[in-house]
């Protein structure tokens, strides 16, 4: 009887272990696959030419494979989305955590959840139909599909993660800290910004990093609003991101061609970026638990 029970226990442990290993296996498989398929093109093109080449002309008679414009565009686009999205998201979180009446809070939180659930193709579609023409008209430029449009879309897309993660961090701040501050004669708003926010800072930092991760990995929505030309990034210029560079040429690049191999190399670069961001995120999450 006892033996059978132990056997059952062990079997169940084994099953859980295998299920866990499936995830690890996927990550390993993807990593290995990306490294193997990403290295050859980098070798052929030369790592400096590849990373810092300023021209991408994969279908030209004399093709050039410089992804510096994509790297910069991804960095600028993400940074722009963070600069625009973090203050809005952060302030919303402070409002929800500390100020909003319960009813208002429920409504806004529901809206935020909904925003998180909207598929990125819908963001792209709305951006294409509303934002792009809007930018064209407001700034008097020939085409509104630009880095600016992508930044705005990304900023909106990262709002839910920033709001939710900062909100959780702010709500976890012990009420006693705030009471102590109020009892010293600080106003509620002073209390939020000088006590609650500093006490939640690692959680808020994690929210920002999560936003960065989300923005840098997004492809579909920005492909639809950024114009997708491989230019060096400028605010009103049509641009291409690391993600969209892969997505836009993959379908027609010939198998085995250097072009296709270079697309895998771009994916590898993107992957490394995201690994880096995850490492930073983990650091903050660990820090906030202490």
């Amino acid at each position: 009887m006892k033996n059978r029970k132990r056997l059952m226990e062990n079997a169940i442990h084994g099953i859980f272990l295998i299920l866990g290993l499936i995830t690890v296996g996927c990550v390993l498989l993807i990593t290995v696959y990306l490294v193997i398929s990403g290295i050859p093109a980098i070798r052929k093109i030369g790592i400096l030419n590849f990373l810092f080449g300023r021209k991408w002309a994969s279908t030209a008679v004399e093709p050039q494979y410089g992804i510096f414009p994509f790297i910069l565009t991804s960095i600028y686009g993400t940074a722009g989305a963070i600069v625009a999205g973090v203050p809005i998201g952060f302030m919303t979180a402070v409002y929800l955590a500390k100020i909003a009446p319960l009813k208002v809070k429920i409504v806004i939180e529901a809206a935020v959840s909904l925003l998180a659930g909207i598929p990125s193709v819908v963001y792209g579609l709305v951006g294409m139909m509303v934002l792009v023409p809007g930018i064209r008209i407001v700034f008097h430029i020939p085409d509104g599909a630009s880095l600016l449009a992508a930044i705005i879309v990304l900023a909106i897309m990262i709002l839910p993660s920033i709001i939710k993660v900062s909100l959780t961090a702010l709500e976890a701040v012990p009420r006693e800290y705030e009471d102590a501050s109020l009892a010293l004669g600080a106003t509620p708003v002073e209390t939020y910004f000088r006590v609650s926010v500093p006490a939640a800072k690692s959680g808020i930092a994690a929210a920002v990093v999560l936003g960065v991760g989300r923005a840098i990995g997004e492809a579909m929505a920005i492909m639809m609003v950024a114009g997708n030309a491989p230019n060096m990034p400028k605010v009103f210029q049509s641009v291409r991101f690391l993600t969209t560079a892969v997505a836009s040429e993959m379908s027609y690049a010939a198998d085995g061609s250097l072009q296709k191999q270079a697309l895998f190399s771009i994916a590898l670069v993107l992957f490394l970026f995201i690994m880096l961001i995850n490492a930073v995120l983990n650091f903050f999450l660990k820090h906030s638990k202490e």
Binding site: Y177, S181, A183, G185, E190
Partner: protein, 251 residues
């Protein structure tokens, strides 16, 4: 004797349940007033009414008057932040901010507009000395306050309250989470502080009330049953319920 605070017909409701019933009390200046009574009788509620910390709780309704230096604190033109600066509070559980010892003390003065570094240094030292903890922390002012022991944290909280130069200090069971040695340090400190401040302290420890307080108020189920000189009250309580409580028959 001067009266710093005069409470008249104070009633307080949490939603529909009444937690304070028609409280009348006068607090003597530069003395220690102890609030005793079984748990749930309204001591903390009463204490928090005195610096309007109850304002922050949803559904609280208050009637009656609390006059602090001849001004009803519930009047519309009272600046509640200024009121809370004058009437400091020390909580049951030590609650230093997750900041350095220095920043904890400097928090209040900074809030009230003091930026000058030398002046802040001065206030920090003075407040920590005032709370009898300077010698223990003077070499680690930049270290986190959360690294102190519970008793040290509580004295730090007292120092933090002193840093804004209050007039009255409210203490809600400040020693209930502390060991006996820290407790006696805080009691000594309270007796010293009463030379400069008016202290109102909630305690469920009757020996503590006897040891340190000048006057004692006994609460029961939201009523103030008896109030007067501590010695007299513990020797010869007027009310049967007070007698039952201080002789340990209930609570």
């Amino acid at each position: 004797m001067n009266h710093v605070m005069t409470v008249k017909e104070l009633c307080l409701w949490y939603g529909s349940t009444q937690a304070l019933k028609d409280i009348n009390i006068e607090i003597e200046e530069r003395s220690i007033t102890a609030l005793i009574g079984p748990s749930g009788c309204g001591k903390s509620t009463f204490l928090k009414s005195l610096n309007r910390m109850n304002d922050l709780i949803n559904g609280v309704r208050i009637t009656g008057e609390v006059c602090y230096r001849n001004q009803n604190i519930f009047d519309k033109d009272v600046d509640v932040n200024e009121l809370r600066r004058s009437i400091g509070m020390v909580f049951q559980k030590p609650n230093p901010f997750p900041m350095s010892i220095y920043d904890n003390i400097a928090y209040g003065p900074r809030t009230h507009g003091i930026k000058n570094k030398a002046k802040l240094d001065d206030i920090v030292e003075h407040s920590l000395r005032g709370a009898a903890i300077w010698e223990e922390v003077k070499d680690r002012l930049k270290k986190s306050a959360l690294g102190l022991s519970g008793g040290q944290q509580q004295r730090l909280c007292i120092a933090r309250a002193l840093a804004v130069e209050p007039d009255v200090l409210l203490m809600d069971e400040p020693t209930s989470a502390l060991d006996p040695i820290s407790t006696s340090k805080i009691e000594e400190l309270a007796m010293e502080l009463k030379n400069k401040y008016t202290i109102i302290i909630v305690t469920h420890n009757m020996q503590q009330a006897v040891r340190i307080s000048d006057n004692t108020a006994f609460f029961l189920l939201g009523d103030l049953i008896e109030y007067g000189n501590t010695e007299k009250m513990f020797e010869q309580p007027k009310d049967k319920r007070t007698e039952d409580y201080i002789t340990g028959r209930f609570g």
